[in-house]
């Protein structure tokens, strides 16, 4: 790798707001040759139990290894598999996790295809994780409310509505999230871009 050519380490830092895991990952990368959980928690400004959980996943997934210290004592670990700026998303067992990847695929597809309907969107996203047309339709609807997509062709019986990304609305690679309380959050801008006017929980 680059290190062999005597270069300074390349500074890769994610932009936008960061999740706990992202900050933990960056702290680990900064101290790759030997780090302790308490230090990482301090640098990442994260609770130590959160760091512990993630480090356990990283250990099981063989991203980091133990270099000294016994369990429940002060351990020193080091990074052995550096996958770049983005914190690997892992399950408890250390396996790659698919959570959020379907939404990510829908968001990516919207940008690449330009114009599409809910079925096409679901089909593309199903490449990554099984996605139903109704999931895709609901994502499109929320994005439309937030002004991120425009309805190019209105739907009617026998014809699916077609949508496209609104001009200038590709805010970045991270998919806008639909939050359960009825709002759309854009992690690229780290702000809420749409809020349901009336609380939705009344109509349960």
């Amino acid at each position: 790798m680059a290190g062999g050519r005597g270069r300074k380490p390349i500074h890769l830092e994610m932009r936008g707001n960061k999740s706990n895991r992202q900050r933990i990952w960056e702290a680990i990368r900064a101290e790759r040759d030997g780090f302790q959980v308490a230090d990482v928690a301090h640098r990442a400004k994260t609770d130590i139990t959160v760091v512990n959980t993630y480090v356990q996943s990283l250990l099981r997934g063989e991203y980091v290894e133990l270099i000294s210290g016994a369990p429940y004592k002060t351990q020193t670990l080091r990074l052995i598999k550096d996958v770049g700026a983005e914190a690997p998303s892992l399950t408890k067992e250390g396996k790659p996790s698919n959570s959020g990847k379907g939404t990510e695929a829908m968001w990516r597809t919207l940008r690449i295809l330009g114009e599409l309907d809910a079925h096409e969107l679901a089909a593309q996203a199903s490449t990554v994780t099984p996605t139903t047309p109704s999931t895709a339709a609901s994502y499109l609807l929320w994005l439309k409310k937030a002004g991120y997509v425009i309805e190019v062709l209105a739907g009617k019986p026998g014809r699916k509505a077609r949508y496209s990304l609104a001009p200038g609305k590709y805010t970045g690679p991270r998919p806008p999230m639909i939050q359960k309380i009825g709002q759309v959050f854009d992690p690229n801008l780290s702000k809420v871009v749409f809020r349901q006017p009336e609380p939705a929980e009344i109509e349960l």
Partner: protein
């Protein structure tokens, strides 16, 4: 729960198979994949599929891009805060590509190849040895031929193919499951639009609306008659 499946089109399969091979290539082999062809052949659908399958970084080039704009666009796609100088940015891109193992997909690459920006592409490739996929119009191979350093790093050329009879059948079935399109109708359409997938889609919709109006659940060439196809050519001027 009904999960939609992607329509198995020829170009989608060609591109994703090529990327698959580039991804699994033995050490020391070059890692550039180039897909080229006229617009409307379904390159973007192929790109979307491949990008989702491999979680690729995707950028779509613009004619006005400078070296800096190009690098910034890639870094933005990677969510990485760009460095101060071009050379730092090249390093950042290369580092992230080789660390993450995710391919980089560059669409509409014809805009870059004739300009100095093309050298940035070579730099990124050399520094990362990653899998880089270039997608563009027909003239891409000839533009690339002038860039010797990049040209000999191409592992695979993937010319986009005109739509086949199977493509039309698959597309018709996926888009309008309730209507049966006869083979002779599809064949005539394929011939008239010269395999341009985008126009196929437009015309299938045209057939579908007519069939709906007439209450048909199956239609052939005789049934379609002389209604004609939308081929993108402007109507001929009628004799005075």
């Amino acid at each position: 729960m009904s999960v939609s499946k992607i329509v198995p089109l020829t170009n989608v399969g060609l591109l994703s198979a090529a990327i698959e091979r580039a991804h699994a290539r033995p050490l020391g082999l070059p890692g550039l994949v180039v897909m080229y062809g006229a617009s409307g052949l379904g390159k973007s659908v192929g790109a979307a599929f491949a990008a989702n399958l491999h979680r690729a970084y995707y950028v779509e080039c613009r004619d006005t891009w400078s070296k800096k704009a190009f690098l910034q666009a890639i870094l933005r796609e990677m969510s990485i805060a760009p460095g101060q100088t071009l050379s730092v940015m090249v390093d950042q891109v290369a580092e992230q590509l080789s660390r993450s193992g995710r391919p980089l997909l560059i669409d509409d690459v014809q805009y870059l190849l004739e300009k100095a920006v093309a050298n940035v592409l070579t730099d990124i490739y050399n520094a990362s040895q990653g899998t880089i996929v270039l997608i563009g119009e027909e003239r891409v191979p000839s533009s690339l031929a002038k860039l010797e350093r990049l040209h000999n790093r191409v592992l695979e050329w993937v010319p986009a193919q005109p739509a086949t009879q199977d493509d039309l059948r698959n597309l018709a079935k996926a888009s309008y499951p309730a209507l049966h399109f006869a083979d002779d109708l599809l064949e005539d359409l394929r011939h008239q639009v010269r395999g341009c997938l985008r126009r196929v889609a437009v015309n299938l919709y045209k057939v579908y609306s007519e069939a709906q109006a007439l209450g048909l659940d199956s239609i052939d060439l005789a049934g379609w008659g002389k209604r004609g196809w939308f081929t993108g050519e402007a109507p001929v001027r009628r004799g005075a």
